[in-house]
Amino acid sequence: MNWKRSLIAAVTAVPVILLFAWGFTRDPGEIPSPLPGHAAPQFSLDVFAPGQPPLSRPVGDTVRLADLRGQVVVLNFWASWCGACREEHAVLSTTARLYTGRPVHFLGVLYNDSLAAGEAWIAEMGGQSYPSMQDPGARTAIDYGLYGVPETFFIDGDGRVAYKQLGPVTGVGLAHIVDSLIAALPPKPAAPATKSRS
């Protein structure tokens, strides 16, 4: 046996093994989104489920992201065939109601589903406090780089994607993100020059 050569050969295996060990810390199924930090893709979508007052919007009303500039937008993609969407439904619906009157808009987007199935799902879940829109051809979903539902995008007052949540949102996480985004909104013209951060 030539032990010196053996040792050199053994050392060459180390990087490979380290690579695999490191691989365990990664989730190969996750696709990192390039959107956070960049301008949120514009959309203009028609409401198909009105939501409940006071957050409701009439069916057929067109929602444009551009019109919501200066306010926080929580954009949730969902579908009736999606199991995890059931988990987060109550959290989203309740949180949206709690934030009534604050500068934040909760919006749902139905992803690759029939409107009838979407409406039936909302009824089955006991209603949705905020409106949901239809997305024909999944154009907006593709614009947002969607690859599974639920996915939730948090858009700040400057119209940038601040954060993307893959999978169901949790109550604490949702409130925390929305609070910090509201706090970062530029102050109203009435009270200039004070930047408040909670």
Partner: protein, 672 residues
């Protein structure tokens, strides 16, 4: 009840395996040969114990014993018996049990057949087999224990993964794959045995491992083709190979094993490539372990990735041990393995074999780096990238074309050296085939460069390999006045490895034709149709007759009845379906294929209207697809012929591989 019993059997196997592992080197070092049978019997005992556990698992599955964790995980009372039995390998724990059983079977048979061989090669080979078995034994009592007691006992289970109970090929592909994959442990064990016993400088271990390599290679080839067929029939996109990591994992060891099947001939005949052959054998095994690791640990995303868990760390430890152990052993022995090879001329079959090994190895390397690159890129750049079919096709096509070329030249060139006249008489006639196939492809409308080149080289190689048969047959008929059938039989029996090899070449060429044809001439159309509507793609017309639904025991089925029209007459009916299983949100598309020797009409039901008013059908027309499956069968036949036990002849000097041994009539191109 049966669960704890089976678990105990697996538990008892561990100390027995350890006993063998300790005893083998001690018996050899101290010269106590009488202990060696004890070492062997630990392998037999392990086989009995693992068989007991495997049978127990099948009994538990069939009797729906939901107190066994694995049955609770994959069983269901509604699942048909066939799919219940084959769910043995449908999920992680069961597949490891099956793996361990195949390994135990191989180990016992290998040792039993060679138990009387003197020397230390077999005891050390047994040691390697015991060590690998121990790893799977540990998995089975630890992280992959399929016999966990479940309490309270559920009344029913969810049933196997829908994709795995949707097609009968799932009963064929996995066992073939395991037989091929696990079988590669045998040549590896021989190589380790040879290195540990010092017999690696001889060629005996190569001779012993040859038939096992061929057997595993045959299984692996069959498994790969069956896997392609399965994905073609089940996955619904009309393709059969997507370069998914799990497909690559089965392909990588196949490439190195194919290289080894060629290069070991050089060692046997010319004493060349000793070190290289050890590398190939060890590398093939390492690749099987690597492939298993990649698909079982979940570190690379793949179609078949099993659930991630602590088992990944066990596999990481195992692969680290195997990799370091193998490298240490091979590098440590490299001085002894310096080749004493001699070549007479560059114009010889030896050169073709060397190039064949180069391109097969480069092919393997390309697939390997492509498979691992997403992980490497993320580690170094921090960016997720994908490596898919466009990359693999672009990079490997030139190598495939090169290998097709070599496949035609190799059989035509003689060993040692060829004269210019010999080369002319051997290399020129196959050009007819090249010309015919090239023109044929162009006439049929192939325009992409590699497609046409592939067809051309397939034509060349097909004629070259067929011609070898023809020359042999003609010589026999002239020399002995034999009939065609007798001549063919005696020709093959006279040199099984050679003619088995040519047959495998022909099988591969048939499959290559199928691949080149189906990828060059694929046409598809998708249309939303009302009943009565027709759709024409590549000259084939179909008409939607209706959409229907049906409840089956374990699933609900939505299907479309589609008629195939020829001159306005209905010549066939295809029913693509969507199967809904209770365990899955998503339907499992179940395409239907109308297959003829010329080509396939492949229909997928993409979506449908619940009222049956319309359905969206995707129709794909692909020529020659069935040739791939047929070619796979021919490859396996070639491997079988190569494995046949050589007929004992009184004149044993005539076993020289390239000589047709018939009463002194030498019908071969070998220089005298």
């Amino acid at each position: 009840m049966i669960g704890p019993f089976a678990h105990d059997a697996l538990l008892i196997a561990l100390p027995i395996l350890m006993l063998g592992i300790v005893l083998a080197p001690v018996a050899v070092r101290t010269g106590r040969r009488e202990w060696i049978p004890v070492v062997y019997s630990t392998l037999y005992t392990n086989f009995l114990l693992v068989s007991t556990a495997t049978v127990a698992m099948i009994v538990a599955l069939v009797t729906h014993d939901f107190s066994v964790s694995y049955v609770a995980q994959v069983g269901s009372r509604a699942t048909p018996l066939f799919y219940t039995v084959i769910s043995l390998w449908g999920a992680l724990e069961g597949s490891i049990l099956f793996w361990a059983w195949v390994l135990a079977l191989y180990g016992s048979v290998v040792v039993w057949l060679n138990r009387n061989r003197p020397g230390n090669l077999i005891p050390y080979t047994a040691l390697a087999l015991l060590a690998v078995s121990l790893f799977f034994g540990i998995l089975l009592v630890g992280p992959a224990n399929p016999f966990h007691p479940v309490f309270p006992i559920p009344a029913d289970g969810p049933g196997p993964n829908p994709l795995l109970q949707n097609h009968i090929l799932m009963g064929v592909h996995p066992p073939l794959l395991y037989l091929g994959y696990v079988g590669m442990t045998v040549p590896f064990a021989f190589a380790v045995g040879a290195m540990l016993s010092g017999e690696v400088t001889g060629d005996d271990w190569i001779k012993l491992s040859h038939r096992w390599t061929l057997l595993s290679w045959g299984f692996l080839s069959a498994a790969i083709v069956a896997g392609m067929w399965w994905s073609y029939e089940v996955l619904g996109w009309g393709g059969y190979w997507a370069w998914d990591p799990v497909e690559n994992a089965s392909f990588l060891p196949w490439l190195t094993a194919t290289a080894y099947l060629h290069s070991m001939v050089l060692q046997e005949r010319r004493g060349m490539l000793r070190l290289w052959n050890v590398n190939l054998v060890v590398g093939t095994f390492v690749l099987t372990v690597l492939g298993t690791f990649l698909t079982r640990s979940g570190i690379i995303s793949s179609v078949h990735a099993f659930t991630v868990g602590v088992i990944g760390y066990y596999f990481l430890a195992f692969i680290a041990l195997v990799l370091i152990g193998a490298l240490v052993m091979v590098a440590g022995n490299s001085d002894r393995l310096r080749t004493s090879g001699r070549m007479d001329s560059a114009a010889s079959r030896e050169t073709v074999f060397l190039l064949n090994n180069l391109f097969l190895t480069a092919f393997m390397f390309t697939v390997l780096i492509g498979t691992l690159f997403p992980l490497i890129a993320e580690a170094i750049r921090g960016v997720k990238v994908s490596v898919g079919a466009p990359f693999f096709n672009r990079m490997t096509l030139p190598m495939v074309v090169m290998l097709l070329f070599l496949m035609g030249v190799g059989p035509a060139l003689p060993w040692r050296s060829a004269t210019a006249a010999e080369m002319r008489s051997k290399l020129l006639p196959p050009l007819v085939g090249a010309f015919l196939f090239c023109v044929g492809a162009l006439v049929a409308g192939a325009r992409n460069f590699y497609g046409v080149v592939a067809f051309t080289f397939v034509g060349y190689a097909a004629v070259a390999n067929l011609r070898e048969y023809w020359i042999g047959l003609r010589a026999r008929r002239n020399a002995h006045g034999e009939g065609w059938a007798t001549a063919l039989y005696r020709l093959i029996r006279g040199n099984q490895r050679r003619y088995g090899g040519y047959l495998a070449h022909l099988g591969l060429l048939i499959a290559a034709l199928g691949i080149a044809g189906s990828s060059s001439f694929r046409r598809e159309r998708e249309m939303t149709m009302k009943p009565g509507d027709t759709l024409t793609v590549a000259g084939q017309t179909i008409r939607l007759k209706g959409v229907w639904g049906r409840e089956e025991v374990q699933r609900s089925v939505i299907g479309a009845t589609v008629e195939v029209l020829k001159n306005g007459r209905v010549v066939g009916v295809i029913e693509p379906r969507m199967n809904y299983y209770p365990t899955s949100d998503q339907p499992v598309p179940t395409p239907q294929v109308r297959s003829t020797i010329g080509g396939d009409l492949y229909l997928t039901l993409m979506s449908f209207d619940p009222n049956g008013a319309h359905a969206t059908i995707r129709a794909i027309v692909q020529p020659l697809v069935s040739w791939i499956w047929f070619g796979g069968g021919v490859i396996v036949l070639g491997a079988l012929i190569g494995m046949l036990p050589a007929r004992r002849r009184p004149d044993s000097s005539l076993s020289e591989p390239d000589v047709v041994p018939v009463r002194g009539a030498v019908v071969a191109e070998t220089a005298p």
